[in-house]
Amino acid sequence: MKKLAEWQLALPLTLAFASIFLAPLLMLVGVSFFNDDKITEPGFGQWAKFLGDPFSYKVIFDTMMLGLKTVCATILIGYPLALVYLDASPRLQKVLIFVIVMPLLLSVVVRTFAWIVVLGREGVVNTVLMQLGVISEPLRLLQTELGLVISLTQIEMPLMLLPLISVMSRLDPNLRDASAALGASRWRTLFTVIVPLSMPGLVAGCLLVFASSTTAFISQTVIGGVRLIYLPLLIWQQSLVVFNWPFAAVVSITLLISVLTVVSALSWLGRRSGGYVHG
């Protein structure tokens, strides 16, 4: 009997992916080229309708900006936390990593709900600010982009921190000592040694946070409300409320393409800066 080649072990999964992953995606593309919601008349009508409407571009732009703002906010406070982790004692490191990973195991819906309690009219932020006398009327934080970005910053934070920490812990500590011994300040060591060397982790984190926050349907609808319209809400409305599947297919392909475009641009930038470090 002929010996089973090892690669054949991958066949069942290949079959599963072909039939329930690749086939549906191809069908999605196919459905988008139908003019009517009964899916009987092929044509470019839905694409023309979507691409001819200035509102579509606003929604695409807003969605991408939401992702970029969330990425910036997670870097701004996440990167310093990763630096603190790097300098911490092994015991403290264990505690920190626990705190960082735990939210990842907590349902996104729970984390979203938490922000409703924090940012709501009678939430923590308003209560504290009112009692301090900073404001007299409750601030409207829910259903604003600011509130949404703050919430997404927490919700997506582990995705930034894990790759960052994994790359940073592999840095040779001698490099930092050498930089300090040669007279560089800690700021200079940060920007000329640590940041360039941790670039792969930073880029990986940015990609994950961007991809996740632009498609975070529950957080976007619950915290952003119905007045802030992003691509995921549009997909949901068109497919499950209006039942215009071809149009929903057009929007979700647009979401896929825009996310993948920004993600590949980011990783291209990452590779370029990586090339600079390694010569």
Partner: protein, 273 residues
């Protein structure tokens, strides 16, 4: 010169320290606040909560008042169990088959199997809904299980592949040169060594399935309601305080699970790799 440097270092400590504290605060505070709010006596979810009571937990655990939530929980658990089970089987087989294969096709397959991680889940969710409906399937838990398996299998593949790459090939060679069959080597050498990797991945896959929104959003119906979708409904209409109790239960569960996984397979160490 020395003085200016120490001033710079001071500002470094201050800025980095403040931002890192802010990050920790933002990560931890909402979780603590929700947990506290869930014990409120009042009917609304304001903070600080008024009084202490277990009324929302009682309402949540009451089978007659919260039947829909209970059904959503059992559906979610059932889907997570089956999709993780199939995922472990197909995922570890595939990892064994291609992880150490240098062929170009194996690398392509590897990227293909990991692609659900970067693909927007909503796109796949909608695609799956159209596909299953247009080829004539009626909505059922089985379809959700299939969808969840696709989007959670990358977790299993990643950790299993990582364990396989740390496996010393000399162990396999010596097993085989001592006359053990391929299957015997797999059963007695390879699998025991990569089992922690498979289980760490399975744990992440299970949690991802429990938490999945994009696929469940499109594939679940009133009859096959899933927990995150039900919770979303509870937040969208009137803010139902039972959701704070659900959150309390999920926070506790995540905390306990995390401790268990840390002790058994060293989850955090594996995630940093």
């Amino acid at each position: 010169m020395g003085r200016r440097r120490s001033l710079g270092d001071l500002s470094y400590g201050l800025v980095i320290g403040t931002l890192a504290t802010l990050a920790l605060l933002i990560i931890v505070a909402p979780v603590v606040i929700v947990l506290t709010t869930s014990f409120t006596e009042g009917r609304s979810l304001k903070f600080p909560p008024t009084g202490f009571s277990l009324q929302w937990y009682e309402a949540l655990f009451d089978p007659s008042k919260s039947r829909q939530i209970h059904r959503a929980v059992s559906n979610s658990l059932e889907v997570a169990a089956w999709s993780t089970g199939f995922g472990m089987l197909l995922g570890s087989m595939a990892a064994l088959g291609i992880a150490r294969n240098r062929h170009r096709l194996a690398r392509v397959a590897d990227g293909f199997f990991l692609s659900p991680l970067v693909l927007p889940g909503l796109t796949f969710g909608l695609a799956a809904l159209m596909y299953f409906t247009l080829i004539g399937f009626r909505p059922s838990l089985n379809l959700i299980i299939a969808g969840h398996m696709i989007v959670t299998i990358p977790f299993i593949l990643r950790t299993t592949t990582a364990s396989l790459s740390q496996l010393d090939p000399a162990l396999l060679d010596s097993s085989q040169s001592l006359g053990a069959s391929w299957l015997y080597t797999l059963r007695r050498v390879t699998l025991p060594l990569i089992a922690p990797g498979i289980f760490a991945g399975a744990f992440l896959a299970f949690m991802a399935s429990i938490d999945n929104v994009p696929v469940s959003l499109f594939l679940s119906t009133a009859r096959t309601d899933m927990l995150p979708i039900r919770m979303w409904g509870m937040m969208e209409s009137t803010l139902d305080p039972r959701i704070a109790a659900v959150s309390g239960v999920l926070i506790t569960a995540a905390f306990l699970l995390m401790l268990v996984m840390e002790w058994t397979v060293g989850l955090t160490r594996r995630m940093r790799e």
